[in-house]
């Protein structure tokens, strides 16, 4: 699943660690999501949407 996490994070000038702390996961997890190697759970996807103040579909694209 594609996502805009890296772009959104860069727009806010957050580091991976900043974002990780905001959603309560490790920096490695943020890296894995950004690189498309890991699709987050629904609660984590909602958490990410909340910190960016966006809807989930504005961050994640299932690509179908």
């Amino acid at each position: 699943m594609k996502n805009r996490l890296r772009v959104l994070r860069a727009e806010r000038e957050w580091t991976q660690q900043d974002l990780a702390e905001r959603v309560g996961v490790s920096r490695q997890t943020i890296h894995s999501i950004e690189s498309g190697r890991y699709d987050p759970s629904l609660p984590l996807a909602f958490g990410l949407a909340r910190v960016f103040d966006l809807a989930i579909e504005e961050i994640f694209d299932p690509g179908d």
């Binding site: 702390e21 996961v25 894995s32 890991y38």
Partner: protein, 131 residues
Amino acid sequence: MSIDTKGRRGGLLAAAALWAVTFVGARLWIEALEFGSGWVYVAAALPVLPFLGLVAALVRSTRDADELERRIQLEGLAVGFAFAILVLMVLGLLEVGVDLDRDNFAYRHVWAFLPLFYLVGVLRARRRYGQ
């Protein structure tokens, strides 16, 4: 919610080190004892408590871990458990038909492969998720 990765790893390493020291100590002690001595049972029991401490540290670590780390641990356990069954199944079958060399295929040799399989599973999962 914060992830105390360093503290978690420190506790795990300390528990693993304590277990390793008691295991090596027990092994050396047993080798120094006369074969069949009653003290062998005492020595063999020595690493049990430290190992349970290691298990407790692992459980705490998993509870504190985020969802991706839990998935990695689960995949590691799945691979480790599956390969453990595979090895024990093959050795069990062989044992029915041939005399397995006790100097190469005894419990003291086989058990060490089980955590190794788990580690391989964890490393494979970390690689898959780019960690």
